[in-house]
Symmetry: C2
Subunit: 866 residues, 2 copies
């Protein structure tokens, strides 16, 4: 919608061609439209969808842009724009991460201070302990809800979906950024068992989007969508990297949780940005005198020469397997809670307060149970998440041992000691309580992740096993020469990696724990435990992120799983839809109408003829509708009428130039076809949040009786005005007759946007390969051909059904990936047409039930049409 | 070739369909051929190419297979075959790695022992020091040369090519395995600056291939090619993992050096196998009492609380940048030596001895220079590679410092101390000498890698910088509270990672050093140095592996590089070949002939007609040749003749059934078309190493005059016999007339194998996207279409030209990837036809220069044909 110069148009155009797609015709029509758009520029500055902004932002300030461009182009070509972008991204994210950590620490300190200062009265202490997090969480939930509900939750599932090529609306905007940052700070400051990893992935992605919007003011390189996807992938790595100061683990974790196929050429981007970000993040801590130098976040000091004995390996394996079951249980539990809550919410939808009641209630329960003088004393309730981890990774053995009994619980370690119970009870209670608390807390509608809580639970479980081992072998494991005592802290590291790996279905948690602790001595136990945990968890439940994707009904393609060999035997011909509707090259408009009536497919195959069935390309449903509405548009009808009246004009004008003439004449600039991209009026704003390019299926066929059931009018005042000026001099019967006559004409595809190379498969392609191709290219459908002839079609739905064995509910329709331009139009079209239809029908019933006259605000004009 | 049951045939068939390719027609023809092949089974057990073996190995022992299959199928379905395979692979590779390490250590010990025992006479000492490695290297070179020349070199470049989908012959066979293992052991045992990493990747891949061959005796799941590619990727990870006991680094390094796009779903495979392998590798060391428990290979003991100060970071950055330049220089140097040697070799090709002279000479020079009492005393010559690394990673500072002067060079550290010089001189000499020595040594034609030598040089360089820093700041860096001294060992770690990262263009060397040293305290310095080294090296030179790929002229697709934004502006229409030759559906055989004459394309587009140009599919060149040779085959001619003679047969038999009849009649079972897959006789064995399915372009047109210039006869004795039996009752003039007449017939495509869904692009696709698609799908060509009409074609060659800006020499023609079945036939066809033509022409000149009679061993038959 912004005025792009011609080369930039071409760039955009290329983007949408990724994987053989085609959305824009560069012929005369496109040029006309570009000219028209340039005229319309600055007309209606409507809110834009994020993806749109990525592509179109530049060019608001025409003349200054040219100057800035020339200056910047030199700089950009010198510096290498990828570096600049990644360094800026890393810097910004490190600052955000550090500032948030600082704010969270202050919040937690404040709670501790309140709690400590009121130690004269337990009731007051309790009030302070409970009220503080409740207020914070409620504020976080309310703030997020009001500003940007998209900011709720982890963000990794959504980023996975976005990186697959689907455009999620309003997901990467500044508003969401603010909501997420503030909401997350409050949520974590409350001391609830919530994490910052997932939200940080989201924050980093928003940061990257906003940064590229900002930088695109200076140059054009930031506008390429493929590039943006690459940058988003790097941003995910930065998010994890600067959250844990773990650049390598960050890159690997982000690859594992967001990608299906990873381009190795993007590898360095992630490493570069994540390293820089982690570096700055840690340097900030040094400058702030928190640390003396750059070290690991949760530095451990296990002995290096003999970290563990071979005989301890079974215990590590046990941790792995148990963590696998625990992880699957966590995912299951989390999903059950969400589903239960959703049902509740559906009933209690009417009250905004009600929505905030749930977070407040959950916080109340959790903080009551962790109240240190109360039940909290049995589960180290006064420790913050960070302190808990520090103590769990502690180097010493907590249980009293034969040889050295002098160990004292000092400082924060005291929390784990209870005079009337022992460390084992505390650990068991901690694990059990934290388990359901974390699963529950992560369902609160605030920005939050589940990684850290799970990590802490895993560490506690590992510590439990380690302390048990230490108690079992108080003298340590005997080897030939020396006696080495068991290090329970090492078990805690293993447990943390295993449980978080099981919940997220990743193996890179191993790398994250190494980076967090700064030690690699336990590499083999960690790897073994993580792999076993993954094996168990993956066979029982989807990962937490996939589970959320399914709950949220985001488009997805299920993984084939560990043992997917049977998928080699299923073929495309077994799962494809054979009975598909198609458009032939020599069809009539009536056929188009019939096809639109009979199918809901987003893309229709275009074949040469019904006999040959040679696939020529695919045409979007919206395009077919546009063709039809153009053919039956009142403008065209009136033009024809005028031509019949004034036949002395002699030379037959071409269709498009004629239409263009009309649009200048009426000075409203909305001819039938070009109005495809016309912004809707504010009256309809709520129906579509990014209406700037939304109603491709509409058209302005106010009088198109035959089309009424399919599309409704884009009943804008201009159109009515135009209608009024041109005058509707035909009776309904005449109109119907004219339309019937028009429907019998052959379709002119010359101006239609046709995707000339839709993806084709052959009948015998295996399911396994189809899955590979679909995930590689991010397809949502493919035509099945046999030597050029169309024989069927397979879409994500069929594929999903085939992989999962059965249909798992309706789910969201999958939009064409990597084509945000077309996407944002296609996805909004249905909602728009529905809204339009309602709007239209209301006015229609008011005035003339069965008449195709224009309705709306200018009802005084309607009689004129008769 | 082997008798597969029907579902397995289908499986194979599906493999080749990956990415819309098509190689086999499942119609009647295929069934006939399958029946025929089953009859022919066990006929000629020829050596098979590795890829073939992967697919076809099972089924030698028909009846016992059925029984074993039923038993195994149950077991396999229970155990989960991926696990079994990966565990076995890990186990085998760990054993191989450990055994080789043991043998290498023994070899090195023997040299030390000899050298130590002869300390009475320097000359004798020198002789022992020099002769021992020379003999070993010469043996290694000779042994490898004789047994399997494919085993020479690193193996990573070839694995990268194979994982791209190209089939390299004899590259993954048992013979090569033996040659590589023994050759590598000898080469490393000689003490030359060579590495084992690259060869281990190759060894692991061969191991995986052989293992899957072995396991496929029990079940059919190992036959899927997509699966095999996945397993090869895992094997590469295992290779690196068990070489360094670095599972994570192994996986990442193997991904970086071998993949372009990585499937995250294969991630766990690599981790699983590499972890298991590394575990077993280290457990073996414990069981052998080499170690007390599982620890890192080159364990370091740097202090944990303050590993480095922020003020040291510039020094680390300097190491990174200098390593970048050094790495690029190494690659450049290595390539120059290879190119120089290659020119020499071209001159001195005639002598086998000459080939062994080069390795011997190089070894002599290097070992002379490292002779400890000689020049070696200035470069720590007596240390093995392992000892060098241990000393370089040493915790102490070598230079004398103000506060503690008591440091003594103990044990192996003595080697770095020279009474008449200081440590700096030793280090500088070591770096300079080892640099050219390593670059030279890695060009010796023995199995060897360059990673370890480069790693050692990098460590030495890092140590040099570290010692300099320690000398510069003898009291360490001052901070507020404490004074920490500089740890030069940490600099060595950084240097090692940076230089090896620069040479290989990877960032995962950082992970490898962490795993090798067991410490992560230097993570940020290492990451910064590695990234800077990569940035510098990547902008100057290709990686060592890409350099070797170019030297060896393996098919490759260059990377787009760091700043590739200008590639967004180049479009396919700018680089595509417009003037392409095509086959029309309604063409005549004469047209086919003309197309074959006028183009060398491996795949010809099949269009509907020259007017419409609608692309229906693509047909292989070999197929076109087969169609033509079938049409002009003497069998067909004689059949026609016989039919004319015996017209009373009444019912017109179908073409194929007729041919089948003939083949049973003559009992040689080689009708024209089916002979496409017929094994060549041993007489031609040298020309093609896997002839079992090689001559698709051949056919048996001994008398096809018109075809002579294109194909030559598959002149097997059976064919001659057949020819003889059928009798050639036509004169050459008659034959020519008959052929001319045949050429005017319309082509019957009904039995031809047509790929119905070749990959299509549209004209406006950007170069960047084309590159992505080509690397994603491993394409070698794509047709450019515009609404179904063929307008051009783009192949790897054009793409390479466009990316590199100019053509870099002829290079090897790229074969269709991920279609080893078709590949092994297509790739061998040219060599075969060339050999056949020579063979043919020799005999032709001998007997009848211009006559199309059969020649060869049975020359007594030739007059009979007249």
């Amino acid at each position: 919608m912004a005025s792009e110069s011609e080369p930039q148009r071409a760039l955009q155009y290329e983007q949408t061609l990724m994987y053989g797609r085609y959305t824009q015709d560069l012929g005369t029509f496109a040029k006309d439209e570009a000219a028209r758009l340039r005229l319309q520029e600055g007309d209606t500055p409507q809110p834009r969808s994020p993806s749109e902004l990525l592509e179109y932002t530049q060019g608001r300030c025409g003349p200054c842009r040219v100057c800035a461009l020339q200056c910047q182009r030199f700089l950009i070509s010198r510096v290498g724009e990828d570096w600049v972008f990644l360094i800026l991204l890393g810097l910004v994210m490190a600052l955000v991460s550090w500032a948030m950590d600082f704010a969270i620490a202050t919040c937690l300190q404040a709670q501790k201070w309140m709690y400590g200062g009121l130690d004269t009265n337990v009731l007051l202490q309790y009030m302070a302990w409970v009220t503080y997090p409740t207020v914070l969480i409620t504020f976080s939930a309310g703030f997020t809800q009001i500003l940007a509900p998209q900011a709720v939750g982890s963000g990794i599932p959504e980023m996975k979906t976005i990186l697959r090529g689907v455009v999620l609306k309003e997901y990467l905007t500044f508003k969401t950024f603010v909501a997420k940052v503030i909401g997350l700070t409050c949520a974590l400051g409350s001391g609830m068992p919530l994490g910052k990893e997932g939200p940080f992935v989201h924050i980093a992605s928003m940061c990257a989007t906003l940064l590229s919007r900002f930088l695109s003011l200076f140059g054009g390189f930031y506008e390429n969508e493929a590039r943006n996807i690459e940058m988003l992938a790097a941003a995910c790595a930065v998010g994890v990297g600067c959250c844990f100061a773990a650049p390598i683990g960050g890159v690997l974790f982000s690859i594992e949780v967001t990608s299906t196929f990873f381009a190795v050429r993007n590898y360095w981007r992630g490493f570069f940005a994540a390293t820089f970000s982690a570096f700055i993040f840690r340097v900030l801590a040094v400058w702030n005198k928190d640390e003396e130098t750059i070290t690991a976040l949760f530095k451990t000091r296990f002995r290096l020469d003999f970290p563990f004995d071979l005989q301890e390996l079974p215990a590590f394996a046990v941790i792995g397997i148990a963590s696998g079951f625990g992880g699957a249980l966590f995912v299951y539990f989390n999903r059950k809670i969400v589903k239960f809550m959703r049902r509740q919410k559906a009933i209690n939808r009417f009250l905004m307060k009600k929505r905030l009641l749930f977070p407040a209630l959950v916080t109340l329960i959790i903080s009551t149970l962790t109240f240190p003088p109360g039940f909290g004393q049995f589960m180290a309730g006064q420790l913050t998440q960070k302190d808990t981890l520090v103590t769990l990774f502690d180097n010493q053995t907590w249980t009293k041992q034969g040889i050295n009994d002098e160990f004292e619980y000092l400082g924060i370690l005291e929390a784990w000691l209870h005079p009337r119970s022992n460390v084992f009870v505390t650990l068991v209670v901690f694990i059990l309580m934290k388990f359901w608390m974390s699963a529950l807390a992560t369902t609160i509608p605030v920005p939050c992740g589940a990684f850290m809580p799970v990590f802490v639970i895993g560490a506690a479980f590992g510590r439990l096993v380690g302390e048990s081992m230490a108690a079992w072998f108080p003298d340590g494991i005997q080897t030939d020469s020396n006696t080495y005592r068991i290090v329970p802290g090492g078990y805690a590291v293993v447990g943390a990696a295993a449980l978080s790996g099981a919940v997220t279905h990743t193996v890179s948690t191993a790398v994250i724990v190494f980076e967090l602790t700064g030690q690699m001595s336990h590499i083999l136990p960690v790897m073994i435990a993580v792999i076993l945990a993954n094996a168990v968890a993956q066979s029982l439940q989807p990962s937490l992120y996939d589970s959320i994707i399914r709950i949220k009904k985001l488009p997805y393609l299920p993984e084939l799983g560990w043992g997917h060999h049977e998928k080699y035997n299923v073929r495309v011909e077994d799962i494809m839809v054979r009975d598909i509707h198609y458009v032939t090259l020599n069809c009539k408009y009536r056929d188009l109408q019939q096809v639109l009536h009979s199918t809901k497919m987003k893309n229709l195959p275009l074949v040469e003829s019904a006999e040959s069935m040679i696939l020529l390309g695919s045409i979007e449903r919206a395009q077919v509708g546009a063709l039809l509405s153009t053919q039956l548009s009142p403008q065209r009808r009136l033009l024809m009428l005028r031509q019949n009246v004034l036949p002395e004009d002699g030379h037959q004008l071409s269709d498009s130039s004629l239409r263009f003439q009309v649009s200048t004449e009426t000075s409203s600039g909305a001819p039938a076809r070009t109005s495809l991209r016309k912004p809707l009026k504010p009256a309809l704003k709520r129906a579509s949040s990014s209406p700037a390019d939304s109603p491709p299926a509409g058209g302005t066929d106010q009088t198109g009786i035959a089309l009424k059931s399919l599309f409704c009018a884009n009943a804008t005042p201009e159109a009515f005005e135009e209608e009024m000026i041109l005058g509707d001099k035909m009776t309904p019967a005449e109109i119907r007759e004219w339309e019937e006559q028009q429907l019998d004409q052959l379709v002119d595809f010359s101006n239609a946007k046709i995707d000339p190379a839709p993806f084709q498969l052959v009948e015998h392609t295996s399911l396994h390969k189809t899955h590979t191709i679909f995930s590689l290219l991010g397809l949502d459908h493919a035509f099945v051909t046999s030597i050029g002839r169309l024989v069927g079609m397979v879409s994500l739905k069929e594929l999903r059904k085939a992989i999962e064995g059965s249909l798992t509910g309706k789910g969201v329709k999958v939009r064409p990936p990597l084509a945000s331009f077309r996407d944002s139009t296609a996805s909004s079209s249905e909602a728009d047409t529905a809204a339009l239809r309602r709007f239209w029908e209301r006015h229609q019933h008011h005035h003339m039930p069965r008449e195709a006259g224009p309705g709306g605000d200018e009802d005084d004009n309607t009689p004129k049409g008769q």
